[in-house]
């Protein structure tokens, strides 16, 4: 068998998290709404209505363009994409065509082998979503709730080379969308949808062969699997002397199978022309400047900085920059702590992330602020509490909203370092264990641990282990 290379381009539809739809004042999100309850004359395409552009959708589209390193078009246009389909109430979709809001751009994907794959973006445009069609009991049912939901369609160049890479692209895209706050990017809810164009060629060749398009690959796993299947099918086909034909495939995630979609009911020629009901979208140089200036440090840059500045491992840096609020939290905690950044990372990687999971919250939603975390770590460092107490404090602060110091005080969680009280306790324990004392004094020094354990048990864990050890040694060595 020849050595083949898989060529993949992805077309993604990203639902922007604006409050209202792109051309009317209906709520943008109607996830739990009954069919056709979140509609108005505008988004359901009644005669005589006109679209009014949602400025927030433009702003979020431009932010995404900036984050993708795309050129932000100072003057972009909306066009009509004309076709008949029952879920498209106007019979045309208001979209952007030859002058979209963003052109070019790229995303750098870190690969497992440590290299970086640059995935170029062909273009990025704003458009309205269509409704949903489903067939039930031989009837075709329509739900227009989704009509007019703002989308960004973003198309990559054929720069991806495997199902894994395509999956990785989506993972990074999802991270970025949430990071810059333009989309919830929940694939299950259709906030991030993906079609994949797949072709193969002999390694070393530069031609682009006939591709097939896979629709409905709407989870990361589906993308990986479906592309793998399709690449395998194409290779087997070509190896057996066949020829890849251009058609559209449907991915059935439940069965893990591709099937050829039946012929489309739409026309191929969309007869694009400028939408006469809308003015051109103008973004002034100041506005573009503002968008760039307002862009946060992006996840991969932050990850690199964490490795550099905080001496974190690649793995830790990756986890801590998984989402923006977590990484912001980390930096704030490091700052408040003042000590070794790695210590804060350990706390966050283990105990804080468990707390986040248990509470089902993001870092920014926590009642336990970064200052609280750093205070807890410092109390452990200073021996005021032991590590176990520190860990239990996380949850207590989160649940009560009280400061860690106040909780330690109230609940008497502080370590007993007071020599008088500790001495009395140790004396009592030594008195009750004359054999062990004798053994120790005759050279069995490993018994020290046993004594410490007795003291700790006796104090309910509150004895300061360091002081306990010092006093024990002092008293045992006293003859």
């Amino acid at each position: 068998m020849k050595d083949y290379e898989v060529i993949i381009g992805l077309e993604t539809h990203i639902q922007l998290n604006t409050r209202t739809k792109i051309f009317c004042s209906c709520k943008a999100d109607s996830w739990e709404a009954a069919p056709n309850t979140n509609i108005c004359p505008v988004c359901s395409g009644l005669p005589g209505v006109l679209p009014v552009l949602n400025a927030e959708a433009v702003r979020k589209g431009a932010i995404l363009a900036a984050a993708m390193h795309a050129h932000i078009n100072p003057k972009s246009y909306f066009d009509r994409k004309n076709y008949f389909y029952p879920d498209l109430p106007k019979g045309y979709q208001i979209s952007q065509f030859d002058e979209p809001i963003g052109k070019g751009g790229y995303m750098d994907l870190p690969m497992e082998n440590g290299e970086t794959r640059r995935v170029r973006i062909h273009n990025l445009h704003l458009e309205e979503d269509a409704g949903k069609t489903k067939t039930e009991h031989g009837m075709r049912l329509l739900d227009f709730n989704r009509c007019g939901v703002p989308l960004v369609e973003m198309v990559t160049e054929p720069d991806l080379r495997s199902g894994d890479e395509a999956a990785q692209y989506l993972v990074r895209l999802r991270q970025l969308l949430r990071w810059i706050g333009v989309s919830e990017a929940d694939m299950e809810r259709g906030h991030l949808r993906c079609d994949a164009n797949v072709s193969i060629r002999e390694r070393g060749s530069t031609v682009l062969n006939t591709k097939t398009e896979i629709k409905n690959v709407n989870s990361i796993d589906s993308v990986r699997q479906a592309i793998g299947e399709e690449a395998k099918r194409q290779i087997e086909l070509v190896e057996s002397g066949g020829k890849v034909e251009s058609f559209t495939l449907d991915w059935d995630a439940d069965r893990g199978k591709l099937s050829k979609m039946r012929s489309k009911e739409t026309e191929a020629d969309y007869r694009y022309f400028r939408e006469p009901d809308l003015l051109p979208v103008i973004l002034t140089a100041e506005e573009v400047e503002e968008i760039h200036a307002g862009l946060p440090e992006l996840p991969l840059a932050r990850r690199a900085r964490f490795e550099q500045d905080y001496q974190l491992s690649g793995y830790d840096a990756e986890i801590l920059t998984g989402e923006r609020s977590l990484s912001d939290y980390y930096e704030a905690a490091v700052q408040a702590y003042g000590g070794e950044a790695k210590v804060v990372a350990n706390w966050m990687m283990n105990d804080l992330s468990r707390l986040l999971n248990d509470q089902g919250k993001t870092a920014e939603q926590l009642t336990l602020k970064p200052e609280n975390l750093s205070e807890i770590i410092r109390m452990v460092d200073e021996g005021k509490i032991n590590a176990a107490t520190g860990k239990s404090l996380l949850k207590k602060v989160e649940e009560t909203g009280k400061s860690p110091a106040a909780i330690v005080e109230e609940e008497g969680l502080g370590l007993v370092a007071d020599s008088g009280a500790l001495r009395a306790q140790i004396e009592a324990i030594l008195a009750s264990a004359p054999d062990e004392v004798a053994n120790f004094r005759s050279g069995k020094e490993s018994l020290l641990g046993w004594f410490v354990g007795q003291v700790m048990r006796g104090s309910g864990g509150k004895a300061d282990p360091k002081r306990t050890r010092e006093i024990l040694l002092e008293m045992l060595n006293k003859h």
């Binding site: 009644l46 005669p47 005589g48 009014v52 004309n82 029952p86 045309y92 075709r140 009911e265 020629d269």
Partner: protein, 533 residues
């Protein structure tokens, strides 16, 4: 003088002072409609009696209950000492292309014959909030596609009140006829290529196509969105100015509506025309049309009586102190119709996509095998000839393989047409016009059935009007005389962007100057036998 002869301006004054009740205005209008209008247009008209053939048939639907309830409200406000608005008690007809909540809005098409919109057009809302009374929805060419009213799916289509064997023009034929026949004082029309001005000229009334963006399009069922302009039809310039005053102004729900402040049009009428520069152009003296085979342009002079009336108007205005600038080149005017054929059809085809038998309107009663068949049958049975022709042409010239030869080229010609106006109105240019004076139409009204069926010839009746739609500038038509058959002749004043106040002022001056002319005393056929004003 009877109540139906009152101007809108006079009516509002009398109603606001309590001299006349709005309810009396409704009754007078209903009475006049009963006398002159005959049966309303319907999808199944049956045979008409010879007597019905002589009626106006402006209305598709008379909204008696709506008008009465609006009148009650106005009268109540007058009783309470509240201000009922600038149009208090003024009878209004609305072209049946505007959505009025709870009222059938048909676009004169079978495909939405039973459509009842859940909202009201901004224009209608502003007019009724100012106290106007909606007497009904008036007929038009199907979806406004035509220049004679004959393409309406609601028959009988409207006749010309001046001579009922003649068409009223179109597409706002019902609007123009209802105003001319004194069924209402005002009508709300639309103008995409001349659809207010051509019927206004044919019916001897005043009509204004405002600047694109001056009046909201929300609630107007779109024909060609980049050209459509709602506007007033009235019996004199003052009423036209008054109606525009109420309708004009930004609508946040129409992105293409202008935020420019609205001028005081009524106040502008007080000024005279001294020193105003009014242009005449040789490009408005002939009709130009391309040879079907060779594409070569042929021309033929416009009707002489029409040309003469324009020249006389120029003389009147010159005598009143206006400066007449001759030989203003408007050389791209001749390409207005071919350009319009392309641009308007592309937009129309797209705008008509939504009428697909799926959501509202007509759906074929036949059992269909699949979705495509549902579309095909519903649209084939629901649309009349004119929409079908426009859809076919619009789809053809915007198809990927033809768009650059037709649609993209038409857009370029459109900007050349716009350049003609820019140069004519340029403050620092050679002509520095305040207005261009032209005929409104090349001929007076034509006989029913004489042109209908020839879609191309019909379209050419917009040659004198369509350029201002391409350019987006305002244009006013007003009566300038009668031809030898006693049919009205219209003259047109075209102004610069948002300079409605200037063309209204010139038009008003012209009305004053010609007030005592013999032709002004002649009344439409359907009104003869009534007490003269």
């Amino acid at each position: 003088m009877t109540l139906t002869q009152l101007s809108a301006f006079e009516t509002a004054q009398k109603v606001r002072t309590g001299e006349v009740k709005a309810i009396e205005m409704v009754q007078a209008a209903l009475n006049q409609i009963k006398n002159v209008d005959g049966v309303s247009g319907s999808l199944e008209p049956g045979n008409l009696s010879p007597e019905e053939e002589q009626k106006v048939h402006a209305f598709i639907q008379v909204t008696e209950d709506l008008a009465l309830s609006q009148a009650e409200k106005v009268d109540q406000m007058v009783t309470n000492g509240e201000d009922p608005g600038l149009l208090a008690g003024v009878p209004l007809s609305v072209k049946d292309i505007f959505c009025v909540e709870g009222t059938n809005t048909t676009a004169a098409s079978k495909i939405i014959a039973n459509f009842v919109p859940p909202y009201t057009a901004t224009t209608v809302k502003r007019l009724t909030e100012a106290g106007a009374l909606v007497l009904g929805k008036v007929n038009l060419d199907e979806f406004t596609f035509g220049s004679s009213n004959e393409s309406s799916a609601f028959q009988p289509s409207t006749n010309n009140p001046w001579h009922t064997d003649f068409v009223p023009g179109g597409s706002s034929g019902g609007s123009a006829a209802s105003v001319a026949a004194q069924e209402v004082a005002l009508s709300l029309g639309t103008d995409t290529g001349g659809s207010i001005r051509q019927p206004a000229a044919f019916c001897g009334v005043v009509g204004l196509k405002p600047s694109y963006g001056r009046v909201s399009r929300l609630g107007l069922i779109a024909f060609a969105s980049s050209l459509d302009c709602p506007g007033p039809l009235a019996r004199d310039v003052r009423d036209t100015a008054l109606m525009l005053q109420v309708m004009a102004g930004n609508d946040p729900k129409d992105s293409t509506s202008s935020t420019k402040p609205v001028d005081n049009y009524l106040a502008a009428l007080e000024k005279d025309v001294k020193g105003l520069r009014i242009g005449l152009s040789p490009d408005y003296e002939a009709l130009y049309y391309p040879d079907m085979e060779s594409g070569e342009l042929h021309s033929e002079p416009i009707q002489k009586e029409v040309h003469d009336v324009v020249m006389q108007a120029a003389e009147w205005l010159a005598k009143a102190g206006a400066e007449i600038i001759e030989n203003v080149p408007m050389s791209n005017t001749r390409y207005g119709i071919p350009t319009y054929f392309v641009i308007s059809r592309v937009e129309a085809a797209s705008n008509l996509h939504r009428f697909d038998g799926v959501k509202y309107g007509y759906r074929t009663p036949e059992n269909v095998g699949d979705l495509i068949e549902l579309y095909r049958r519903s649209r084939a049975e629901g649309f009349g000839l004119e929409p079908k022709l426009r859809i076919l042409m619009g789809m053809y010239v915007s198809a990927a393989e033809h768009a650059s030869a037709y649609y993209q080229k038409a857009l370029k010609v459109r900007s050349l047409i716009r350049n003609d106006f820019d140069q004519a109105f340029d403050r620092g240019g050679d002509y520095r016009l305040d207005a261009l004076l032209t005929p409104t139409t090349a001929t007076t009204a034509f006989k029913r059935k004489s042109v209908y069926g020839n879609s191309v010839l019909m379209q050419y009746s917009d040659q004198m009007t369509v350029a201002s739609n391409h350019a987006g500038v305002p244009a006013l038509t007003l009566p300038g005389g009668l031809d030898k058959n006693g049919l009205p002749i219209g003259i047109q004043l075209i102004g610069n962007d948002f300079r409605e106040e200037l063309i209204l002022r010139i038009g008003h001056a012209y009305e004053q100057l010609t007030a005592d002319e013999a032709w002004r005393q002649v009344r439409p056929q359907v009104l003869q036998g009534e007490v003269k004003a």
